[in-house]
């Protein structure tokens, strides 16, 4: 068994695809003409992103370190967003926070410590969600919350918001399980219990049992 699997052989795909890959020497980005395979495109984008991050890196033995410059940049943008929120200028606040997230996506190098990046994203998304909820962008809030949940933020607060925004989207059958899951984490959570009652009531209403 060993000998055939030993050397991971260069797959023939190279010969075929070499011609498809194009290199732009100005921005050092690669591109590919056939766009059929999303997986390949994703990978190519990841490589491009890595290249962009690598080119200005002068230390050949760089380590996974958070970049303070980026941190400050993102933080400033985010904080100015929060400032707007305090001035009750929700749309502008949301725009600023969106910008801060985008900035993070672009400027963060892929090898900066994950735990650090996750924390930063968590913090911004949580606030963005609240802004979205206030401005009734419930679909946006729902998806941001699911992202948070997916990234390990399994706390009652996320479930409160999820239930709330799903109820506002008239999706009780989705809201209720989230509410119940939140209650499993904290059976005495006041807002969740209230939301649970709201879910029940809404269910009855939809079913014509009220």
């Amino acid at each position: 068994m060993g000998q055939s699997t030993g050397a991971t052989p260069p797959v023939p795909i190279t010969a075929k695809n070499k011609t498809m890959i194009q290199y732009d020497s100005n921005n050092k980005q690669l591109s590919i003409d056939n766009d059929s395979n999303t997986d390949r495109l994703t990978n190519l984008n990841q490589i491009n992103k890595l290249t962009t991050a690598l080119v200005p890196e002068t230390n050949p033995n760089f380590q996974p370190q958070p970049n303070n410059e980026t941190t400050n940049m993102v933080k400033n943008m985010f904080q100015s967003g929060m400032q707007q929120a305090q001035n009750k200028n929700i749309p502008d606040a949301l725009r600023k926070v969106d910008l801060a997230v985008d900035m993070r996506n672009k400027a963060r190098k892929p090898w900066e410590p994950f735990s650090f990046q996750l924390q930063e994203l968590h913090m911004m998304l949580r606030n963005r969600t609240d802004l979205e909820l206030v401005s009734q962008r419930n679909l946006d809030a729902w998806q941001d919350l699911e992202m948070l949940l997916n990234c390990g933020m399994v706390v009652p607060e996320v479930f409160i918001r999820l239930t709330d925004c799903l109820l506002k989207l008239n999706l009780v059958e989705l809201a209720r399980p989230y509410c119940e899951r939140g209650l499993s984490l904290d059976p005495k959570n006041g807002p969740l219990l209230a939301l649970f009652q709201a879910c029940e009531k809404k269910m009855l209403e939809i079913e014509g049992d009220l």
Partner: protein
């Protein structure tokens, strides 16, 4: 030469041998066919009342033909087999009856009871007197002199036999011999023979026999075995092609949280099954997916000929996909696969109005245009008077409307009465660490037409139902007391199917499925016949009659033992129907793990427990929390790892910053 085998020269043995083989093969098949003939028809009849006829009525000619052809194919095979079998059997019996040699051998058998003319239950006295009489009759000294030599010898032999028989029944040693060897003189010589008729062995046919043996051993046997082996390799234990199974596993394995699960994705996976490639090599998986999509949208497809097979097969494929997704603990995929399964069964796409559109005769466009109130549920539909419903659904014909309403009112809705963890043999609501609990779900089946009533109206004994004496009974055996579910109203599906429910259990801690789904096929739907129309009932307490209602039970096995550490663990139970929209149930059940205090009298405990149950603290809907007081000692570290399929976040669990952002959302309303 070591030993000489006798062939069956007089044909006395082989017919019996063949007869036995035939009987073994034919009898069970006959019984099964007979059972089908009787029960199959009667079950058709019983449900055929109106339901089945209705189903039949809405079934298209094409589908009906397909179903009939399928049924015939199956029953024909059985009937041919039985006919040939019984003809052979009767021929053999005739052969045996006409074969004197067999009678001779039978006559030579020794039966002391028959010889003495007594029965097995005769007493010693009776035996003795019978013997005396006979011995007097046959005693050589007492025989009449007119008998010729042959008759005399026969008589004398008879006398010896009678003596032997008498001894066999009275003398200890002879009795022992008779009991052990079937003969009073002790072991008889036994002959081993080959149960082959002589004509096959001798003369010109023998080379053929040898040749036949050769063919059998050298070709047929290896071929049969290898064929069996390869098919058993080709198909998994659950009946789908192993490549299909691998395909599903691949899909689950390569699933990333960034993917969005929608019905189209599930149908795509299903359509890539090996089964379809084998059956229709000319069709691509896209073609197959198109067939399924067009069925769901109730449209024609270009490859109409493949439709019936694809839809029939898809049911098994869905089932397997759900199982594999559950094994991979993927709640999202398992639930969406079940929803997609529904869309195929009801030929209704997934939409907020699926519940309405699954009904027959509904004019979709008309419905969407005509209603100002958003009606998504059947229950809501039944708040309107019948003629108004007809107007909303765009049904003008009165019989058609009645039939639509009939179907709608017979789509079972489940109402949770009580869901709890039970341990066999215990009436407690808590489980001991390491014990094996199961989930008991008490439900009320109701029609969407029925007026809702609170669980507090249901007498407690109906809900509890646990006779303390029956606690030891196997909860799953107990389920068998409930009747099988009836046929699903799915007229566009090429196969008839029995209604069922899937029960998924999800850990609320990580939101993932913890075990393969269990399937419930038994539940009484007799509540659907109760007349309790929500448009008619005004005074609930007065008109409610607890006698009318039955409470159904689902018992869901719990695949793992109760956690080792005390505490309360929450599990989401999703009871989902693959048949109808609007028949699902989704709730949370707490599992309280607690060491029972020092042994008290178990009976007393049970009684006390029952008392407290009776006193009605289960009045409100059991939601798993609200009223009950749980100690918050979450022994959380039970489950091994907080693994993320794609992102590993276990390095990151700081939620300190949470507090500042709390509260906002619930106040935004």
């Amino acid at each position: 030469m070591p030993q000489n085998y006798d062939y069956d020269e007089a044909s006395t043995t082989w017919p019996f041998f063949v007869l036995t083989v035939l009987f073994v093969a034919v009898t069970p098949v006959t019984l099964i066919e007979l059972y089908r003939l009787i029960v199959g028809d009667s079950s058709d009849k019983s449900s055929s009342s109106e339901w089945s006829q209705l189903h039949e009525k809405y079934t298209s000619e094409e589908v009906r033909k397909y179903r009939l052809a399928n049924k015939k194919k199956r029953s024909k095979k059985g009937i041919y087999f039985i006919t040939v079998g019984w003809v052979l059997i009767s021929m053999l019996i005739y052969h045996i009856r006409s074969n004197d040699a067999i009678y001779q051998i039978a006559a030579a058998a020794f039966d002391p009871y028959e010889l003495l003319g007594v029965t097995l239950s005769s007493t010693d006295k009776e035996i003795k007197s019978a013997y005396r009489k006979l011995s007097v009759k046959f005693h050589p000294d007492k025989l009449s002199k007119d008998l010729n030599e042959i008759e005399r010898t026969a008589m004398e032999e008879q006398f010896v036999m009678i003596n032997k028989a008498y001894k066999a029944l009275t003398d200890e040693i002879t009795k022992e011999n008779y009991r052990k060897y079937g003969h009073p003189d002790g072991p008889q010589s036994t002959s081993h023979g080959i149960a082959l008729p002589k004509f096959l062995v001798e003369g010109g046919t023998s080379p053929f026999v040898v040749f036949a043996y050769f063919i059998l051993l050298a070709f047929v046997l290896p071929m049969v075995v290898s064929k069996w082996w390869s098919t058993s390799q080709e198909y998994t234990k659950h009946g789908i092609h192993s490549e299909t199974a691998s395909h599903f596993v691949d899909k689950m394995f390569n699933f990333k949280p960034s993917y969005v699960v929608v019905p189209d994705l599930i149908i795509k996976w299903i359509s890539e099954a090996k089964e379809f490639q084998l059956k229709f090599p000319e069709l691509s998986s896209v073609d197959i997916a198109n067939i399924i999509h067009s069925h769901v949208n109730r449209e024609k497809t270009e490859n109409e000929y493949a439709r019936n097979y694809v839809l029939t097969k898809s049911s098994l494929l869905f089932h397997q996909l759900i199982e594999i997704a559950s094994t991979f603990r993927n709640t999202e995929v398992a639930l969406m696969a079940l929803d997609t399964y529904k869309t195929v069964v009801q030929a209704t796409p997934l939409s907020p109005h699926s519940q309405i559109f699954q009904l027959p005769n509904v004019d979709k466009e008309h419905f969407l245009d005509s209603t100002t109130d958003d009606i998504c549920a059947l229950g809501k539909l039944f708040t309107y008077p019948d003629d108004k419903i007809g107007k909303m659904l765009g049904i003008k014909d009165e019989t058609a409307l009645n039939e639509t309403l009939k179907v709608a009112s017979r789509i079972p809705k489940l109402k949770l009465v009580k869901g709890s963890f039970k341990v066999r043999g215990s009436s407690l609501n808590t489980a001991e660490p390491g014990s094996t609990p199961h989930i008991q779900v008490k439900v009320l089946v109701r029609s969407p037409r029925h007026k809702l009533f609170p669980n507090s109206l249901i007498p407690a004994e109906k809900i509890a139902g646990d006779d303390p004496l029956l606690l030891e009974q196997d909860p799953f055996e107990k389920l068998l007391e409930q009747p099988l579910l009836p046929e699903t109203f799915a007229p566009l599906l090429p196969t008839k199917r029995r209604t069922c429910w899937y029960a998924l259990v999800v850990s609320q801690k990580d939101g993932k499925i913890i075990q393969t789904p269990s399937l419930a096929q038994r539940l009484s739907l007799e509540n659907l016949d109760v007349n309790f129309d929500k448009r008619v009932i005004k005074d609930l307490d007065k008109e409610f009659n607890a006698e009318d209602w039955t409470i159904g039970t689902f018992s869901i096995p719990f695949a793992q033992p109760a956690p080792k550490e005390e505490g309360t663990y929450f599990f989401r139970v999703v009871i989902k129907s693959p048949d109808y929209f609007g028949s699902d149930l989704d709730f949370t059940v707490p599992l309280t793990v607690k060491n029972t205090p020092i042994e008290t009298d178990p009976k007393k405990e049970i009684l006390e427990e029952l008392d407290s149950d009776d006193s009605g603290n289960e009045g409100e809907e059991n939601t798993g929390y609200s009223s009950e007081d749980f100690d918050e000692s979450d022994g959380d570290d039970l489950e091994e790892d907080s693994d993320f399929t794609d992102i590993d976040t276990d390095t990151e669990d700081e939620h300190e910053a949470t507090e500042e952002t709390t509260e906002k959302s619930s106040k935004t309303d």
